[in-house]
Symmetry: C2
Subunit: 336 residues, 2 copies
């Protein structure tokens, strides 16, 4: 195994080419400034083998997931991604081939999203592979889409389909043995590699009143918007867009609807907008070849009521869920 400096020179410095402020990773800091009229949006996420991805996941997929979960946050707020920093903590079971494959995944997504690595750090560990990414994007000053701007009467929209990633994780855990192979493979792919809505996101500025990406789960993330916006929300379960594969899984086992609605890792954009924006949203949907579906609406809180999310079934009855979404430290104490 080459030493840290050799690894950086061989695999990571090439990823900094094309961004002058990265200084080829040969200096101690990187420099970045927003374009005139813009400000920088920053986001960090950390993923851990055995918690956030399977320990035997191919390195290039791990790299792309580590990057994409951050790009998804930037996109959901309307920021265009520019650069990222990477902290890579590796056990001594990781060999140079793993690092080469990891770097190739980063290179792939850098080309896809037009971004550059500008800094990082490496350390060794007695524990699992741990990867922290800090992504930096930019957006017009004062225009990013916050969590707190939803208004009573706004429609709730979601991009893409919901539940695939959570159902994909169920496939990996062998919890969906009767699912056909093609559906299973589709869901696992959706779990492994998020598709952040990078080109679409910035177009939602001026349209969306509140937005975030679905990472904790649709219901939990809509609750985040409700809490900060001081509103409640009602969504229609039948309006939540499902992929064909998710529909097969749920038809096989109707309990899996809860998995879809509350599971995490969708990395779709959940946003609110006035009903009058529907036509403009329809145009964006076609322009970016991205389904965008209305799934419910925001409502004023009655006196002293707490922000809440209600999911209704076909008959208008509220559904209830055992768990609303993923949190690291709740799950830990969960006996399951």
């Amino acid at each position: 195994m080459p030493n840290e400096f050799e690894l950086i020179a061989r695999y990571f410095a090439p990823l900094a080419r094309g961004f002058p402020g990265a200084y080829g990773l040969l200096d101690d800091v990187a420099l970045i400034a927003p374009a005139s009229g813009n400000e920088l949006a920053v986001k960090t996420d950390v993923i851990v083998a055995g918690i956030d991805f399977p320990p035997d996941e191919p390195a290039h997929l791990v790299a792309r997931k580590a990057l994409r979960v951050n790009l998804s946050d930037l996109a959901a707020k309307g920021a265009a991604p520019r650069t990222y920093l990477l902290d890579l903590v590796l056990p001594n079971t990781v060999d140079e081939a793993w690092i080469a494959d990891f770097a190739s995944g980063l290179a792939h997504d850098q080309a896809e999203y037009g971004i550059h690595l500008i800094g990082g750090d490496m350390s060794s560990t007695s524990g699992p592979i741990t990867i922290a990414v800090t992504a930096i994007g930019e957006a017009p000053i004062g225009r990013i889409v916050r969590r707190g701007g939803a208004r009573p009467g706004d429609t709730v929209f979601i991009t893409g389909t919901i539940g695939d990633a959570a159902l994909g994780l169920s496939v990996l855990r062998a919890e969906l043995p009767s699912l056909d192979a093609a559906s299973a493979a589709f869901l696992v792919d959706r779990h492994r590699l998020p598709q952040p809505r990078v080109p679409l996101g910035p177009q939602l500025i001026g349209i969306a009143t509140a937005a975030l990406d679905v990472s904790d789960g649709l219901v939990a993330d809509l609750r985040h918007i409700c809490t900060v916006s001081r509103l409640s929300a009602v969504i229609e379960a039948s309006a939540v867009p499902l992929s064909a594969a998710a529909r097969v899984a749920i038809d096989n086992d109707p309990q899996r609807l809860a998995t879809a609605l509350t599971g995490g890792d969708d990395y779709e954009v959940l946003f609110t907008a006035p009903p009058a924006a529907a036509a403009r949203i329809g145009v964006l949907s076609r322009l970016f070849d991205t389904p965008i579906a209305p799934i419910g609406c925001m409502m004023a809180l009655s006196d002293e009521a707490q922000p809440d999310v209600v999911v209704r079934d076909n008959m208008g009855r509220p559904l209830s869920f055992k768990s609303e979404g993923w949190t690291h430290f709740l799950d830990r104490s969960d006996p399951q």
Copy 2:
């Protein structure tokens, strides 16, 4: 143990107060823009229990070290720190009291350096505590002090004293049993809590031709400047400033001079400047109550020679060292 959201609300959201772009950690991204005429300087570092700090280190010291190693890089380049992001990866042996103590360490240093937490992430792990910090500072556009600007004839300067942290680690490893208790305690303190040269750093803009902070070790870090500046350097071992405690340790065991000169974690500023700058540097030294010592000089490379660092003893003889400094992945394959 409270869940992730409760922990953030209780311990980390208060650390974001006072920085509007952090949105109280209640949104998905944070916003930051440099002041007019400035650009942002970013740096990330990751530290791992059992590798970068002892597993039983008090949490507030771990927090402050995680923060300070990054502030040190910003300072050495001439950037003033403004904000940071934090990724905190915790095994289930960590309790709420640890997190409270950790946050109190961050609060202490935020007050000391005038900075704010603006974002972060938490995850659980089956491995050791792992902490990644990304610090963001700012500096006048195009003025940060690079590694590559040293010129032949420049004097090499160092702030503070060198070797204390590495000798402090030797104390913790019981390798200096004959050292008096007061000296041992001083060295251990220096190992535990770096003192980044935050107020001094930005004053070196326009004076220093090249700079970095000493983290890998004096000789290895000076070699970094040599490599990028395409120069060699000679330093006089007797000119390298040592604390009284380090001097006692080295007097007891002269081999420890190598530990001092090549050990890491000093977090002092190593910089080059023309000899004519000595008077201005003397003023800064008094103004910031920070010793700054000339320890050698930079020299042109002769044809085809490689950048090199020579350390000379009192008699002008070159000293040689078994290892020039710390790297994570060399040490791993080292049978010691």
